[in-house]
């Protein structure tokens, strides 16, 4: 492990990678501070820019965007009550009241320092757990991978925002359309209505359409909204001492964030919500939560930043994305010819270890950029929404074209943008669809390989201990909302 770290450090401390890291942080802050743009949208838009880069700077840049956008989301949440990221909504519960009573500098300091502490603790957990998970997963066969994909998809279905049924409909839509193209086992054509679909639906253009272009249509609807004016634009000071009274909250929230992040579908929003709830329940001053209690900011920010590393753990070790942004990262890895999963640690150890090193190198930069650039980042919320929509729509089209130098990819992006928007309005969110597009091939190929190995006996496949446990868990996850509802009745 140590030699891999040393090797990775040598690769990261090069001019090209450090520039990529800083660019990723700046883009991440921009995306994170801008309400309406999320880390997954930012990453989807930036993937085409990584085509010409080597694997390490490309991946380090994408991970930096992911990390930095979660850092930045808290800034507009505190100053203008406009969460830059969904998870930062919880930060606004106490951050905005603090800002209103003139403590915005302190709130920003706590937010960014807690984010940094959460990222540091979860980064350490990621280094320890990802390698262990990957080693364990090396023993997995097709049956176990099938069961893992089923568990991942069932968790995504149940834990996604909104109706579970609609999330599962989204999953099924993704699993259905992912079968277009060449059959992964026999190589026969399926649903190829046009020769351009012979390789299946192009993943990256579909991703850009579902995440980014569908958001452009939401922006078109809300073009007339005026952003709340900023009353205070303070500069925050870097004070670790301010965090000391909340060290237990930081540690507890980081652990909650990390472990919630590991669960596919749970993500930063749920991590910060749980962490906030726990902090509130354990606090002797629980009545002051929601009215500007600094501990609320610390709990939310430490957890939502810790969930980023949590989401990277199953991605790197098992090839299962822990969040929508992690699913986008799979797209970035695939474009570089890399397959996330246990073999990544064996065949390309420089990739996961460069990500680890990049996380730790980027951390102080992110804290500094957040603390000293707060005035700038909050101004981003003042960029007129119509201008953002126009630029994002144009980048969507450019990025889609760059995926294969073909206008067909643009058509896919345009089509999925419209589909994504219409489904959103039906409460079917893009994340389950994208995760099904990512895991669909693995699910089918693993199941069919497992069946071939087991001489077509479903019982033999399901009777393998790990498979049985994982499928049992998936069934439990799927029926648990119904059981909960019956108990409530």
């Amino acid at each position: 492990m140590i030699e891999h770290f040393i090797h990775a450090a040598g690769l990261v401390f090069t001019f090209k990678v450090l520039i990529a890291l800083i660019c990723g942080i700046l883009v991440g802050y921009f995306v994170g501070a801008m309400p309406g743009l999320t880390s997954s949208i930012g990453m989807a838009l930036l993937i085409p820019f990584t085509f010409g880069l080597d694997a390490i700077p490309a991946i380090v840049m994408l991970v930096s965007i992911y990390m930095a956008s979660d850092y930045a989301g808290g800034i507009p949440a505190i100053l203008v009550n406009a969460p830059g990221q969904p998870a930062s909504a919880v930060t606004a519960f106490d951050g905005f009241p603090m800002s209103q009573r003139g403590e915005s500098g302190r709130a920003l300091n706590l937010s960014i320092m807690a984010s940094g502490a959460g990222a540091l603790i979860s980064g350490l957990l990621l280094v320890i757990s990802a390698q262990l998970m990957a080693s364990a997963a090396l023993a997995f066969g097709p049956a176990e991978y099938f069961a893992l994909a089923v568990l991942g998809l069932s968790l995504i279905g149940v834990l996604s925002a909104g109706s579970t049924l609609k999330a599962v409909i989204g999953l099924m839509f993704g699993l259905t359309v992912v079968t277009i193209g060449i059959d992964p086992i026999r190589g026969s054509e399926r649903f190829v209505v046009h020769y351009l679909l012979i390789d299946g639906l192009p993943f990256l253009p579909a991703l850009i359409g579902l995440f980014a272009l569908s958001e452009v249509f939401v922006m078109l609807e809300t073009a007339n909204q005026k952003i709340m004016p900023i009353k205070h634009t303070p500069s925050a000071s870097a004070s670790l001492r301010a965090l000391l009274p909340y060290r237990t909250t930081v540690l507890r929230s980081s652990l909650i964030g990390y472990f919630v992040g590991v669960i596919p579908g749970a993500g930063a929003s749920i991590a910060s919500l749980i962490s906030y709830g726990v902090a509130k329940n354990l606090s002797p001053t629980r009545d002051s939560f929601g009215k500007g209690n600094p501990e609320g900011i610390v709990a939310s920010e430490a957890a939502n930043n810790a969930s980023v590393s949590g989401a990277l753990a199953p991605l790197l070790s098992l090839g299962i994305p822990g969040s929508a942004s992690a699913a986008v990262l799979i797209g970035g890895l695939t474009i570089q010819g890399l397959q996330p999963g246990p073999l990544l640690f064996t065949n390309n150890p420089e990739i996961p270890y460069s990500i680890f090193v990049g996380l730790f190198v980027g951390l102080p930069i992110m804290v500094a950029v957040g603390l000293f650039g707060a005035r700038l980042w909050v101004q981003i919320t003042r960029i007129p929404r119509p201008v953002t929509a126009t630029v994002v729509a144009s980048i969507c089209m450019l990025g889609a074209y760059a995926a294969a130098n073909d206008t067909f990819e643009m058509m896919v992006t345009a089509g999925f943008g419209v589909i994504g928007y219409l489904l959103r309005r039906c409460d079917i969110h893009p994340a389950p669809i994208v995760l099904a597009l990512v895991l669909g091939d693995m699910l089918e190929a693993s199941l069919r390989r497992a069946m071939i190995t087991a001489n077509d006996s479903v019982l033999s496949v399901l009777s393998q201990p790990i498979t049985a446990v994982l499928v049992g868990l998936a069934v439990l996850v799927l029926i648990s909302p119904m059981l909960g509802r019956r108990r409530a009745v």
């Binding site: 925002a161 649903f191 929404r385 119509p386 074209y401 079917i428 669909g440 199941l447 069946m451």
Partner: protein
């Protein structure tokens, strides 16, 4: 466990009523919002999804089969079949009025529809006339549809997009644009 009250966070910023002019935008485009009953919208969307699922099942059934338990058509048949069943279930729930969401509102519907058409037309136009020519026209038009009204803002937005295309994609990344 899901956090329904958070799901629009990050999408809808804190906003004020559209009274005064935001930079580069004109809020005078007061346009009535179209409201569709959520149940009807769910029925239509899930109906389309169910039809898509049926199409996949139909063609999966026509694929060659063998003695193996899983043929190339089996997985899409299961996924498509589940899509049909679940969409049907959602339609039934919507018709029964369970889990009602009130109405689905589409703000600025005309501009939204024009924006969608512009996005759909863009790839064909680029294929026919080339990227730069189409972009010089498309970006200001889309910007206008999005709500940018100041000529300078439209010009600046177009310049940013063209610079990105030429500087980053063509020169830096070596992606030749049509």
């Amino acid at each position: 466990m899901a956090a329904p009250h958070l799901k629009n966070a990050g999408e809808e910023p804190a906003s004020l009523p559209t009274e005064s002019t935001a930079e580069g935008t004109v809020p005078e485009m007061h346009e009535s919002e179209i409201e569709v009953p959520a149940a009807l919208y769910d029925v239509v969307i899930c109906g389309v999804l169910a039809a898509l699922g049926l199409w996949f099942v139909f063609y999966a059934l026509r694929m060659p089969t063998s003695d193996a338990a899983f043929d190339p058509g089996t997985f899409p048949m299961i996924a498509g079949g589940l899509l049909v069943v679940l969409s049907g279930l959602q339609i039934a729930l919507a018709l029964a009025g369970k889990g009602a969401r009130g109405v689905v509102g589409f703000q600025r519907p005309l501009w939204l529809a024009i924006g969608m058409v512009l996005v759909m037309v863009f790839p064909f136009a680029v294929g026919a006339f080339g990227y730069y020519l189409v972009t010089v026209i498309w970006v200001p038009v889309f910007g206008w549809v999005a709500g940018v009204r100041r000529p300078l803002s439209l010009l600046a937005t177009t310049a940013i997009v063209l610079l990105l295309a030429k500087g980053v994609f063509e020169m830096l990344l070596g992606t030749p644009l049509p």
